[in-house]
């Protein structure tokens, strides 16, 4: 990919959906000029681990690919929930990959310089918990040298770490990239700063986004740990008090903020774990707009958008994405969707009431206006 995809990142397109359901088609480079003074952008600054490890199942000597799928504890990079594939690589669609060799607890996996033991099998033939036998520094060194970023069948050239780290990538705890952040560059951040638009970050360990297995995918996203700095919580409090909007860069930021959010729109700083899915039945207490990639109805990212906009708007959006040839996947185009107040069609009166009482209930604001 690399040069061509990088150029595409700069030349990507952006569709915006305002709170009234209106669509606009823009160049992503215009992102810097959207938003208003007083808005707060919240981004996920997690860097991405090379979470795909090829090796062998020691008992059967069969090849295996292990993808680290979720943390057991953020403090411990030696234990993960993982997904296993048999022979083959990312050029085969995940859906068509062979099952791994049969494993039992205690089996060892030789993964390049690392040795992992199968701690226990979980309730699916691909899903298990593993523990590396080495210490933290050795595991990090082994991942750094032998691991590869989780690859995608739609990206023919192998992805390197520099392809999957966003410009703001800091702590390496994501297992797949928080890809909405690819839309940010330092020039855009400088433009926002000049225009009085705030930037705050949290660190959310984005887990595996797709396993290729329909029954497993229904359970995604897995529980994801996150960290919200005190200063981010303080910035959120401030922006709420001045009537600015909270713009989440990506679904992971929405998950973290809504998980740590209180009914009054404030957010608890510190460590937490985001569980479950957001969607049409869940209210939003913190986030007013989301910048995200182009997703298809049915995937968990798209389902989250139902928390932002009603079905009619999302249907209109989906049709427009197809009609205008927007590019999906991690390195594609972007969408900026403002939260649509539900006072007339909300799934529950309670959600509508809590929105009506909040400082962001006007709904008259339009991104880019």
């Amino acid at each position: 990919m690399i040069a061509a995809e990088r150029a595409q990142r700069r030349s990507g397109r952006l569709v915006t959906v305002d709170a009234g359901g209106g669509l606009r088609h823009l160049a992503r480079a215009q992102l810097g000029s959207l938003l208003r003074a007083g808005d707060l952008v919240v981004a996920n600054d997690a860097a991405t681990l090379p979470a795909s490890l090829h090796g062998a199942h020691c008992t059967s000597r069969q090849p295996i690919e292990v993808r680290l799928a979720a943390w057991v504890s953020l403090q411990d990079p030696t234990r993960f929930a993982a997904i296993a594939f048999g022979a083959g690589d990312h050029r085969t669609r995940t859906e068509d990959r062979m099952l791994p060799p049969p494993m039992v607890s205690g089996d060892r996996l030789a993964l390049g310089p690392l040795v992992a033991v199968v701690e226990r099998l979980l309730d699916h033939p691909r899903l298990f918990r593993l523990r590396f036998l080495e210490n933290r520094a050795t595991v990090l060194a082994g991942l750094a040298r032998h691991g590869r970023p989780i690859q995608y069948a739609h990206v023919p050239e192998p992805l390197a770490l520099w392809d999957v780290w966003t410009r703001i990538a800091a702590d390496p705890i994501a297992l797949e990239p928080p890809s909405a952040g690819f839309a940010l560059d330092w020039r855009t951040l400088a433009t926002w700063r000049r225009r009085g638009i705030g930037l705050a970050t949290l660190t959310h360990a984005a887990g595996i986004s797709s396993t290729g297995d329909p029954t497993l995918d229904l359970r995604l996203p897995f529980d994801e740990p996150y960290r919200i700095p005190e200063r981010t919580a303080a910035a959120l409090k401030l922006v709420k008090s001045i009537g600015g909007r909270v713009v989440a860069i990506g679904t992971t930021v929405v998950r973290a903020l809504e998980s740590a959010g209180n009914a009054d729109g404030s957010v608890r700083a510190g460590d937490g774990v985001a569980r479950g899915r957001l969607g049409g039945e869940t209210g939003l207490h913190v986030v007013d707009a989301i910048l995200t990639g182009v997703h298809e109805p049915g995937d968990s990212h798209f389902e989250m958008l139902r928390a932002f906009a009603d079905d009619a708007t999302l249907n209109k959006l989906s049709a427009a994405l197809v009609a205008h040839g927007y590019r999906g996947h991690e390195f594609g185009d972007s969408m900026l969707i403002e939260h649509q107040p539900r006072s007339w069609s909300g799934p529950s009166r309670l959600a509508a009431l809590s929105l009506a009482e909040g400082p962001y209930s006007s709904g008259a604001s339009t991104i880019g206006s």
Binding site: A47, A137, L140, A144, W165, I168, A170
Partner: protein, 240 residues
């Protein structure tokens, strides 16, 4: 203890950490309570210095593009973020020193790879972590080790001098571009030191006329602290 732990878990990465100035930096930073990760090319040297100093040793070559992100991952993964990056690893270019007319293109490329591109790439890979530290109020700094050869055109020092001059200018431009992000950039000339690199460059120099790397390291640490917000390394503001 208070006197020796004044850096209170400041997270610092040092490249070229197993000899000369880099080693002195690793030793002093670790002794003063910083959390240190250092980079060097040979596993044996890295293991030895890691055992001696309790700093985290990472094997890699900043002159190799493929090593940069693996290094950045290990630095931030082991330290849990980063407050200060010290780009110290340096290549002399052709040895013994050669006039430019006798310098092979590949030798100049190698000096640029280690002295200019390496710091650029590693800084870029770690800029997100440094900016994150700055956003949380701890400040952040990048210290690039320069040389008087970056300013004065010494015969025989073409590859080294040109690469260090470029690094010095790069540092100044980084400083302009990142000041609003709270990341300080500094170049420092540590002086002519009694180090393995100097011994290769000037084999007949009298070591007693040369500065000890420990003295330069202490100066660099002072510059580093001056570049950070007041109290950035104090127990009150760190690790809330």
């Amino acid at each position: 203890m208070a006197a020796t732990s004044d850096l209170n878990e400041l997270r610092v990465a040092v490249t070229g950490g197993t000899s000369g100035l880099g080693l002195a930096l690793v030793q002093q930073l670790a002794a003063r309570g910083a959390r240190v990760a250092f980079v060097a090319r040979t596993a044996r040297g890295v293991e030895r210095i890691a055992a001696e100093t309790s700093a985290c040793g990472i094997v890699g070559d900043v002159g190799r593009k493929e090593d940069i992100y693996p290094l950045a991952l290990q630095i931030t993964g082991n330290l849990g973020g980063l407050d200060v990056l010290i780009n110290n690893a340096s290549s002399l270019g052709p040895t013994p020193l050669a006039p430019l007319a006798d310098t092979e293109c590949e030798e100049l490329e190698q000096a640029l790879a280690v002295n200019l591109l390496g710091p650029f790439r590693l800084t870029k890979a770690l800029l997100g972590a440094l900016a994150a530290s700055a956003r949380q109020g701890s400040g952040a700094a990048v210290i690039n080790i320069s040389s008087d050869a970056a300013i004065t055109p010494y015969s025989g020092w073409g590859a080294y001098g040109a690469s260090k001059a470029a690094l010095r200018h790069l540092t100044a431009i980084w400083a302009e571009e990142t000041s609003l992000d709270g990341i300080a950039f500094r170049s420092i000339d540590p002086g002519d030191m009694d180090t393995p690199l100097h011994a290769v460059a000037v084999p007949d120099a009298d070591p007693t006329t040369l500065k000890q790397p420990a003295a330069s390291a202490a100066e660099i640490i002072e510059m580093m602290l001056a570049a950070l917000p007041r109290g950035a390394a104090s127990p009150i503001t760190r690790h809330p």
